[in-house]
Symmetry: C2
């Protein structure tokens, strides 16, 4: 499950001085750093995203909060690392975990989500696409600050028959309106599906409605079209040089362009802060037919190498953000929480640790804020970036057992002692890389060099300080139970789509990576 | 030896209709596809080249004629593959060869070089930087069409002492004016050298002189600052995120910007066709301290994988080339020969096979011309690209023996059966890749697929047709002799810089790769 995100945020009611209507949004999708023309994708098939970049600001050093989807999404909406907000597992050491439909856990009430705060400031909040923070009733997005929802609680995985196991439901607000592969067709053979078009129209309609009623809004556009099984609508199928994955990228690019043009046409683009980024690196395991590109970086999704967590990122806000800007600010999806609050004049909660920082000084004044980036698997800090340096305290691509089955998160790449198939601890002598000279993490610095000694002194202090702040949340991704699957979502009766759940049989979830 | 090139070409006296003065130039330098911000280099430190791209046209599928410098340079100036123009070796199978200072061969009189033809059309031709087509008297650039030269015949290698072996001379026109490391300082420890500044000034002066005299010109700016040992001037040292290599790239980027601005200031930019490209992929062997980036592509210089031969390329001609254009035309450095002739209204020679095509329809009218790209090592066709498909007839990164010594042209990369350390022939069943879905050449198509069968039928015909046209030139890179080194270049007497050559002892050159 990985997805590129688009956030639209109706901004600055405080700053707008009068009647101007403002809003904000995030596109949160699942594309790799190297999937955009602006980031060097060699087929250059993303003219709209490239134009968004040329009208806005490109972030070159922007990171997911996890190499996997659900934890990154929880982090975006809470501004907190997964180890704090509970989106991790302790079932085994250093494992990636997410929210398949047998997951028992989800987002806790005690977490404060961005839409909860924006709502108090008068915003209407909508999520379009994949929620992914738990699908049991208490985790429903409308119970966590969103006013509207059109989309699914989980990835658009099968089982494709809806008998032995339920297909994933699609919700409109409180109730399901159908299921993937049944009411929302995805042709696995041809790859044809109209979902991106449906989600696009939903976004355009919501924006129109909000503009008409002069109501500020927060739109979280989190479709998952580039997630395997990859689909595109008929108009885009077969149009890319990159195969079906490229077709899906082209359709998303086109949709982003249409949303931005819609904002411009309605005359609210100068009052709408838009951010585009991704929740994890491209899934190289799905390549070449359904996988994206992480450009020059090492490995992909599931790993804490750059390919797993460095993301494409674009901020767009005509009239405010200088066109064609490039920022080297180290950024994180968690910053979208704090930045959005700052945009509407709110403070982040003070009763808990918030990891996201306010990026506005970087975006509007070109400032560089000194801050580290942490790379986690589960509750293990695998690596940390400080300035241009990255220190790996643990390395692991995946186990020999998984690798021998053909599961490879680093296809064609092999850096001796770095892309390890055993979990290797380096805490006493971390592997240190200079990401400027060596963005591909191929050449660890010599342990005896002055550069190593000096930099590690600095990094060790940062890590120690960080670890002192960690109060782990209750891990939500430990327990799985077939009984909690989407057998009978609310609204299923009206549609005659209720299935009978099996008896509850909670077990430890198995997380192999 | 690898270098990025810049060609400036005073264009279209035929088209200019009257008194407007026109010119043409090539920047031919040594940078990798992924070394420019416009091509996804993550530090984005090439603002001038990126601006050149945004004002001109970016070529995404542009190729060197060889994975090594001298053959690519000979191909650029003759419009012909090295196997035709003699810039190859037959000493061993499928070897890369170039022109170190003990090489006996060089460019033959019988070859027709671009400046020879331009001269007849009234152009003044200047080469600034590395000639690399032989350093014995008969190979001097002023004997092959150039009117002026400032630069060196070979790479700026050592020996650095000029006693046991001569340091490389720097020529002004017919005579040497000094030697590298002696009169033209390169501090190997700090990396400081003013050479790029000197070559920049030389270009600016030449352009001013030509403009003042209203004489059309061809400028071939072929400096080699990013070649190891990498240098930069004091102002640029330590300014890059990428280390010394990045410092050199920043200085080159700055220089290109100054040359383009100079053309604009003189009011001749609309009459000057400029092309920027490179003679081979980035030398990953020099990474991380002195090596560049080939972005998402496989391996680097010396190999016939994409990283060895796919190059950054930008065409710039304000008022003629649409700004911000992107071309997917398969291009080659050899096309600069034919394209330059076309610009000035000349036909390419008809008495011999010319491999370069006229790119003007692609540049000015957005047309796509169907043509293959051939990847050679020595006189062996290793691979061919037709459309988005690339078929490898031979694979070889380098020998086990070299590899075991730490010579690695694919650091951190290893694609089983593709990056082979034995020369492996696949002529009966070539390895076939779809470069759109798989730009990194990681996933050969299944031999039994319909796609494979259909595509290979087409490619086989192209290869057969190509091989029928091959009339190999006399190989120039077979014989080496210490006696021919730059002991006593013309002009050495005046400087007191003549050295005594040893007795002639011609031997087969040894080409390990
Ligand atoms: Ca809450
Ligand atoms: Ca000749």
């Amino acid at each position: 499950c990985y997805t590129t995100e688009c956030m639209l945020c109706d901004v600055l009611p405080a700053m707008r001085g009068g009647s101007t209507f403002t809003s904000c949004g995030v596109f949160f999708l699942q594309m790799g750093w190297g999937d955009l023309g602006a980031f060097g994708e060699p087929s250059k098939e993303t003219p709209n995203l490239d134009q968004m970049a040329s009208e806005g600001m490109l972030f070159l050093d922007f990171y997911a909060a996890s190499p996997l989807c659900s934890p990154s999404r929880a982090a975006l909406l809470t501004g907190r690392l997964p180890v704090r907000n509970g989106f991790y597992t302790t079932n085994a050491h250093a494992r990636n975990a997410y929210t398949p439909q047998d997951i028992v856990g989800g987002i806790q009430d005690s977490e404060i989500l961005l839409p909860e705060l924006l709502k108090k400031a008068g915003y209407t909040n909508k999520i379009i696409g994949k929620w992914h923070l738990g699908h049991r009733p208490q985790f429903h997005p409308l119970k966590h600050g969103f006013d509207e929802w059109f989309g699914s609680p989980n990835c658009h995985f099968g089982p494709y028959d809806n008998r032995a196991l339920p297909n994933i439901p699609v919700y409109r607000d409180w109730e399901m309106v159908g299921r993937y592969y049944e009411d929302f067709k995805i042709d696995l053979k041809t790859g044809e599906a109209n979902l991106t078009q449906i989600y696009l129209q939903e976004a355009l309609d919501f924006i129109s409605k909000q503009q008409a009623s002069q109501q500020p809004f927060f739109l979280y556009w989190a479709i998952d079209a580039t997630h395997a099984p990859v689909y595109a609508s008929k108009h885009f199928l077969g149009t890319s040089q990159r195969g079906r994955y490229g077709d899906a990228v082209r359709e998303i690019d086109d949709s982003v362009g249409k949303i931005l043009k819609h904002l411009q046409k309605l005359g609210i683009s100068e009052n709408t802060f838009v951010f585009f980024t991704s929740d994890n690196g491209a899934a190289l395991i799905s390549a070449p037919k359904q996988g994206g590109s992480n450009g020059p970086f090492l490995c992909g999704k599931q790993t804490t190498f750059e390919g797993g967590m460095r993301e494409p990122a674009i901020a767009w806000w005509p009239g405010h953000i200088p066109a064609g800007g490039v920022s080297r600010q180290l950024g994180s999806v968690m910053d979208l929480f704090t930045t959005s609050l700052s945009l509407v004049g709110l403070q982040p909660p003070s009763d808990r640790q918030i990891d996201g920082i306010d990026l506005l000084p970087a975006i509007l004044q070109g400032k560089l804020i000194d801050r580290p980036i942490f790379y986690y698997r589960g509750n293990e800090m695998m690596a940390v970036r400080v300035g241009l340096y990255k220190a790996h305290y643990w390395t692991w691509s995946n186990s020999w057992e998984e690798y021998s089955k053909g599961i490879d998160f680093c296809p064609g790449q092999n850096v001796s002692g770095v892309t390890t198939h055993l979990q290797e601890e380096h805490s006493t002598l971390p592997l240190l890389f200079h990401l400027g000279r060596d963005p591909g993490e191929k050449y660890p610095l010599s342990f005896v060099s002055d550069e190593y000694q000096g930099v590690m002194r600095q990094i060790s202090a940062v890590v120690q300080q960080h670890k002192e702040t960690i109060v782990p949340g209750v891990p939500q991704l430990n327990v799985c139970d077939k009984a909690v699957m989407n057998w009978s979502p609310p609204g299923c009766e009206k549609l005659g789509k209720c299935l009978k759940p099996p008896k509850s049989d909670p077990k430890k979830c198995f997380w192999p990576h």
